[in-house]
């Protein structure tokens, strides 16, 4: 494995404590892998040229091309860095869950989501998109307005580094609140476990769509939540409500997985109906899936 690509694996990346380095490694690893990937051509480094027209800034002229062709061309990307993106990060207590049953190499849902958010922020700032951030539990806790300056990345990472999962979740209410807060149309990326009523979630997402946003939903689940690896007599407790249930894990596994699959399918169907990109992730999945989803959305809607 290439030196950077290994940083797309959660169990490798979690050993890097500095969030900025974590984001950088993720993005560099991701981009270095693109040379061989089917997503070639979506690179932010790729510079398309177009003929110079009067009114274009002279500093945008690609003089190397002029020297070879005696014609004026300007780099296309420099003229299209106008997208605003908001990262909505769920920081409720349920996001801090990591099963005792699984090996400790896995991140919590919050750590996983934070890493994705940092990487996306790094990537967007790098291509001079404006990135803002909203953290929430049962309401919005932090809000950073979108900026495209490189220095803004430090603000974002600072927010991410300083927040910890706590409180109970109200995903729908928080999204409604964010929809009201975000003014200019843009891209909204929500990272959450979305443990809320599907109807409420649908309304919240439709609120965002109504406001003209493109929405990507990263539905982050813990690996234990997704696979239910428990066995024998278990006493489960909800980290937010502290409700406890004793159960024979083997006996309830099938019912649990069915119920979870139904929920995911329902949520995915509703997102699809709303034109929302739905990406299901669990903490054992490589980060590039999240980055690809973002880039494909950006290409589809902003290029």
């Amino acid at each position: 494995m290439a030196s950077y690509e290994q940083y797309l694996l959660p169990d490798v990346l979690r050993r890097i404590t500095r969030l900025d380095l974590r984001a950088r490694f993720m993005v560099e690893g991701f981009l270095s892998g693109l040379h061989e990937s089917p997503y070639k051509g979506f690179s932010v480094e790729f510079s398309d040229h177009r003929k110079y027209v009067p009114g274009d800034e002279i500093r945008r002229v690609d003089w190397k091309v002029y020297g070879k062709t005696d014609r004026y061309y300007v780099k296309r990307f420099e003229a299209e860095t106008t997208m605003e993106c908001h990262l909505l990060l769920d920081r409720s207590a349920s996001m801090g869950f990591r099963s005792k049953t699984l090996p400790s190499r896995f991140m919590t849902k919050f750590e996983y989501s934070t890493a994705i958010a940092a990487a996306l922020g790094y990537l967007m700032i790098r291509q001079q998109d404006a990135v803002g951030m909203v953290t929430f539990d049962n309401r919005i806790r932090e809000y950073a307005r979108p900026r495209s300056r490189r220095a803004h990345l430090g603000n974002l990472l600072s927010i991410l580094a300083n927040c910890s999962p706590a409180g109970y979740t109200d995903v729908s209410g928080s999204i409604h609140e964010a929809a009201a807060l975000i003014g200019k149309k843009g891209l909204v990326i929500a990272l959450s476990d979305f443990l809320d009523e599907p109807d409420d979630l649908e309304k919240a997402l439709s609120h965002l769509r109504y406001r003209g946003h493109d929405v990507i939903v990263f539905h982050v689940l813990d690996a234990a939540e997704a696979s239910f690896p428990f066995s024998g007599a278990m006493e489960f407790s909800d980290p937010e409500t502290n409700v406890r249930i004793k159960a024979d894990a083997d006996a309830v596994r099938a019912d649990y997985l069915d119920a979870l699959a139904d929920f995911v399918a329902d949520l995915k169907g509703r997102c699809h109906a709303l034109g929302v990109d739905y990406v299901q992730l669990d903490t054992s999945v490589s980060f590039d899936q999240a980055l690809v989803s973002y880039l494909s959305n950006r290409k589809r809607n902003y290029m």
């Binding site: 066995s231 007599a233 980290p239 024979d248």
Partner: protein, 715 residues
């Protein structure tokens, strides 16, 4: 019940089953706790799941209890008997070997005695016991010292085989039926200890089925789950001659001799046999006799022998020809020493030739045997008699004495009081007035005038009972047929009182009493209502007169030592009681046997009756008793009881009807034995199955408990 436990006592350990319950309750395992934000997806089917958890909880508890119980059961050595028991014959059993070692088992056939055949078969039976079996030994007869030879159950069957090899013929024989009852009792007691019912039990009885060994057979029932084999080592046809019994006694006429009467019997074959008489270490007589098949024959031997000085005469009667059972070919005899009876004969005319005193004195001490006869005689005229004459006298005989003075009668009564004897021949001279006071006092009779038979007629002599010691020698017409005696005249006797202890021994034809005897003080007195004169009776001329006078004088004198034996013939194992007039305490005695001489204890088994316990052996014994007033030599013989060597057999039908669950075979390899054994051995220990079951239960428990309580789950 098909399932049983060899060490059932260990099943008490089943109480340990409460341990897992207690542990289970005390350390009830709690479910592992974990967080799960997606808890809401669990709620479906949760009630059914809780029920399943409880069931699994109880299942683990059940498995733990079952594992403990199965382990305890395994340690108790479970065994299975029944149709499903494979590897039949491997289960251990409790076996009891019963050996009949009665004298009849000494019968030799095919080169070995029946006891040797029985021992071989018994060892074979022991060797065929399944591994882990326990065995015991019951011997019908006692050991050489009268000790029981039974051996308790042991798992060391080799040692038991050695014990079997050491069993010998015992004359202290008891019933084989009793031995079988003891064996069954041992089986029951072994089964009763802490519920030890694991073994099927097998009892093997090795016997020749002689009726004498099984005579006391009563209906008996074998214990539960016990099969009894009676292995017949005998035979229906037996060729045995035996001496059933023999008696010997001194006889004094016509000259002192020993008379031996023996009874011989042949079992199945009649034949002539050579009989030998050995006395005082020398063969004294031999005779060829015809012994009929299946019947007894009596034979009498008269052995002339010089009397030894106060010592008993010992010897034996032997069938000289060998036969298969030699133990009963010799019968040991002891004849007590015959003491000389010192007689004083009083008569008014002691020198009268052909007078009564003449016949009596010559009968007691014939001139040809003077000094060697069993009696010594002094003749004295009645008029010269003084009580001082009785000092060296054992028996006073009055013959034709008209009367005695009062002082003389007083002296006679003192003499009788001291144990002396008195014989009175009351012929014509005797005056009733002189005799009747004495006779009334001690006999309850009076004598009257002389009576005579009619012209040309006589009166016969009728003995009322030959059981009386004075007349026992004449029983069966022996000693010259005393009943042929005829009387012309006799003294009439009438009973005047029912008092007194006079026994009427003989009567005349007309019913008049003619011979009476009565104890007087410590002595004895005899009244003969006739004079021993040929003119009034032919008695003095008959062959029976000499033994009559000797037997009467001997009985009347009744001389007894301080220490004596009531009899001299005993069975082996019998106690030998001594009569001791002085009531002396315990004695030190030395008992000499034909093979050795050893000191033995002479104890007082009861307050007044010292007893010699002689050791086991057939033979003659001399007990030299020291510690009494003087040294006394007492002799006695020990022989087998007459039925011990009887080879008459009990019928198999009777045996089988009396003994339930009993199989009679002639060989331990008989097919019926192996078939019957399947009932007791048709089981196998299933210890291994229980261990496997315990392992399976523990593994199942571990798997379920690990999965249910301890496992961290997959992942």
């Amino acid at each position: 019940m098909p399932l049983f436990f060899i060490n059932a006592a260990l099943m008490a350990g089943a109480a340990a089953a409460v341990i897992p319950v207690i542990v289970h309750l005390l350390h009830r395992q709690k479910p592992r706790a974990d967080l799960l934000p997606t808890l809401k997806f669990l709620k479906k089917g949760l009630r059914a799941n809780r029920h399943r958890m409880r069931v699994r909880h109880l299942l683990v508890l059940f498995l733990r209890i079952a594992a403990v119980l199965v382990i305890v059961a395994a340690l108790s050595r479970p065994a299975w008997r029944g149709a499903l028991a494979f590897r039949a014959g491997s289960a251990p059993v409790s076996a009891v070997i019963v050996l009949d070692n009665s004298p009849g088992m000494a019968y030799r056939q095919y080169g070995l005695t029946r006891l040797e055949h029985a021992r071989q078969a018994a060892r074979t039976a022991v060797a065929s016991l399944p591994p882990g079996s326990k065995a015991a030994l019951v011997v019908s007869g006692l050991g050489p010292r009268g000790e029981p030879l039974d051996r308790e159950f042991t798992f060391n069957t080799n040692a038991l085989s050695e014990m079997i090899s050491e069993v010998e013929i015992s004359a202290y024989s008891s019933s084989a039926g009793d031995a079988l009852a003891r064996a069954w009792r041992m089986v029951e007691e072994a089964g009763g200890v802490a519920g030890d019912t694991f073994h099927g039990s097998e009892v093997y009885v090795f016997s020749d089925l002689a009726e004498s060994s099984w005579s006391a057979l009563s209906h008996m029932r074998s214990p539960e789950e016990t099969v009894t084999f009676i292995v017949d080592v005998g035979d229906e046809r037996n060729e045995n001659f035996r001496i059933v019994e023999a008696q010997a006694a001194w006889r004094g006429a016509p000259q002192p001799h020993i008379q031996i009467t023996a009874t011989f019997e042949g079992s199945d074959l009649g034949a002539t046999r050579l009989v030998e008489i050995h006395l005082d270490g020398a063969k004294r007589a031999e005779r060829i006799i015809e012994v009929p098949a299946g019947a007894a024959r009596n034979e009498t031997f008269e052995i002339s022998l010089l009397q030894t000085a106060g010592e008993p005469v010992q010897g034996w009667v032997a069938l000289a020809d060998a036969d298969p059972l030699r133990l009963d070919n010799t019968f040991y005899l002891t004849v007590p020493p015959r003491r000389t009876t010192r007689c004083l004969v009083l008569s008014d005319s002691p020198r009268e030739l052909q007078g009564g005193a003449f016949y009596v004195a010559n009968a007691l001490e014939p001139p040809a045997l003077r000094g060697e006869a069993t009696a010594s005689v002094r003749l004295r005229a009645a008029g010269d008699f003084t009580p001082r004459d009785l000092q060296d006298t054992d028996c006073l005989i009055l013959v034709g004495v008209e009367s005695l003075s009062g002082a003389a009668w007083e002296g006679i009564e003192d003499f009788l009081e001291r144990g002396g004897g008195l014989v009175m021949f009351l012929g014509a001279p005797s005056r009733p007035q002189s005799y009747n006071p004495f006779l009334r006092r001690h006999f309850g009779i009076e004598i009257g005038q002389m009576s005579t038979a009619g012209e040309g007629e006589t009166s016969g002599f009728s003995v009322l009972s030959f059981d009386h010691p004075a007349l026992a020698a004449f029983a069966g017409g022996r000693q010259g047929r005393i009943t042929a005696t005829r009387f012309h005249a006799w003294r009439s006797i009438r009973r005047v009182s029912e008092e007194g202890h006079a026994a009427e021994l003989a009567r005349l034809t007309g019913g008049e009493p003619v011979l009476l005897a009565s104890p007087v003080g410590n002595g004895r007195a005899v009244v003969a209502a006739f004079a021993p004169r040929p003119s009034i009776t032919d008695f003095p001329l008959r062959a029976s007169f000499v033994p009559f006078v000797n037997e009467i004088a001997s009985w009347a004198s009744g001389i007894s030592g301080a220490l004596s034996l009531s009899r001299s013939d005993f069975f082996v194992g019998e106690a030998v009681p001594l009569s001791d007039e002085r009531r002396a305490g315990p004695f030190q005695a030395e008992v000499s046997t034909p093979v050795d001489s050893r000191p033995v204890e002479l104890s007082t088994a009861s307050e007044y009756e010292p007893i010699i316990f002689h050791p086991y052996a057939l033979g003659n014994y001399l007990a030299r008793v020291e510690g009494a007033a003087d040294r006394t030599v007492l002799g006695f013989s020990a022989n087998l009881p007459p039925d011990e060597t009887s080879l008459a057999r009990i019928s198999a039908e009777r045996l089988e009807s009396a003994l339930e669950n009993t199989i009679i075979v002639t060989d331990v390899t008989d097919r019926r034995v192996s078939e019957a054994r399947s009932a007791t051995r048709g089981a196998r220990e299933i210890f291994d199955l229980f261990i496997i079951a315990a392992i399976v239960l523990l593994a199942l428990e571990a798997w379920i408990a690990n999965r249910f309580y301890r496992a961290g789950g997959g992942g």
